[in-house]
Symmetry: C2
Subunit: 217 residues, 2 copies
DNA sequence: TAGATTGTTAATCGATTAACAATC
DNA sequence: TAGATTGTTAATCGATTAACAATC
């Protein structure tokens, strides 16, 4: 994530590194898994083994936010899970706008894990007149021209961008303008003109594959 | 990513950091974009601006592999693109096996960028008897029980894992056993028992969203 | 208690940036 | 030439790891 930290916006005392924030969801994911397996207590060592990282790193990461464990015994799974959820602002249900209803958009709408994790896709937009008006999972596909108007009206802060490359930047400008603060970007392009308080995460499967083929030489 | 490489490497002065390898596909992506725009020459500054990273970092990254630019003028777009493709082993067509033909698998098969970038999905597997035997894009959906047999026979090195969490590890074991060396994993779980020479990249959209909600507090 | 594990400090390791001679 | 930009070195910055006192 480009956090746009410049000399003028030096990391303030007590601010947690972005790379640490990125690991918290993995810790949470693992705790949920352990809980499902019936584990009530865990340790930095066990978590580390599950995730393939060191126990020291986990303890260090958590120490940015407080003390959650007990010497000699470790962490109560349910408690730590709750604390991480709170830290990550996951106690509320987040409304999400999906932009683009092609194959990917279709798959995302049917991906149950979004709602399981309390990300509710509440709006769908597309530019194709043949799609506009159709109802998917009780959601009407809206005209992409109304993105700003409707998102602003609903106060939605999170958008999933699943549009073709060519329109990704234009749509992004609209989303930012509509007050969106987090964009999950599936277009394989670096989005520009992102204000400091708007976060972007780009998912590009091709980039992942190409990173791996390097090692297949 | 573990660097599982023998002493007999192509590069004498040691290993290129994995984090650098991860940026090469982004450089390539940007060069392709610039080429499409008709640009014949670019610079580390321009590339950096496009990607939101420093020009120094781009020059440093490229310097691990050789000298590709000219002082005063910069880089020939087409040439640098070709060099990066070569470095990343992208001159050949890679056959890919897709495991799991749910909504996500469906979207992936229809995602043209895979074939555009020379990743050809050649095999599809699913465990559902209702799906086995159906033909998608000229590819028969095969019984998941034949994963090892068929992948081994075809010598396929890259797999995309789009199966439910519960079976992800079991399928992974089979893939590794069948000789797969790169796994693009869409199951939100850390895969275990991965040999050093097998690479895994996990894509978890929920983790990305949760990273961003931290900042929405 | 004895063993285990946390939270934290200090040391190490690695990545990024700044700066500049070389040179197109 | 004058301006621009590379490739590289050294300095800086930041992240990870090791180690251990505290203590459950």
């Amino acid at each position: 994530m480009a956090d746009g930290t410049s000399a003028a916006t030096k990391r303030q005392e007590g601010q947690v590194p972005d790379i640490v924030i990125g690991r918290l969801p993995l810790y949470l994911r693992t705790l949920i898994l352990l809980e499902k397996e019936g584990k009530e207590v865990t340790s930095s060592q066990e978590l580390g083994k599950q995730l393939g990282i060191s126990s020291a790193q986990i303890r260090k990461d958590l120490s940015h936010f407080g003390e959650f464990g007990k010497q000699g015994t470790g962490y109560a799974v349910s408690y730590l899970k709750g604390q991480l959820k709170e830290i990550l602002n996951l106690d509320e249900v987040w409304s999400v706008a999906l932009i683009g209803f092609g194959d990917l958009g279709h798959a995302l709408v049917h991906y149950n894990r979004f709602s399981e994790r309390r990300f509710n896709i509440e709006l769908i937009f597309d530019a194709d007149p043949d799609k506009i008006g159709h109802v998917i999972n009780g959601i009407i596909i809206q005209n992409a021209e109304k993105i700003e108007e409707i998102i602003k009206a609903k106060g939605i802060k999170i958008a999933i961008l699943a549009v073709p490359i060519e329109v990704a930047q234009t749509v992004t400008d609209k989303l930012v303008n509509a007050g969106v603060r987090a964009i999950l970007n599936y277009a394989p392009i670096t989005l520009k003109n992102i204000p400091q308080d708007v976060k972007v995460q780009t998912i590009d499967p091709i980039a992942h594959l190409q990173k791996m083929t390097y090692y297949l030489g």
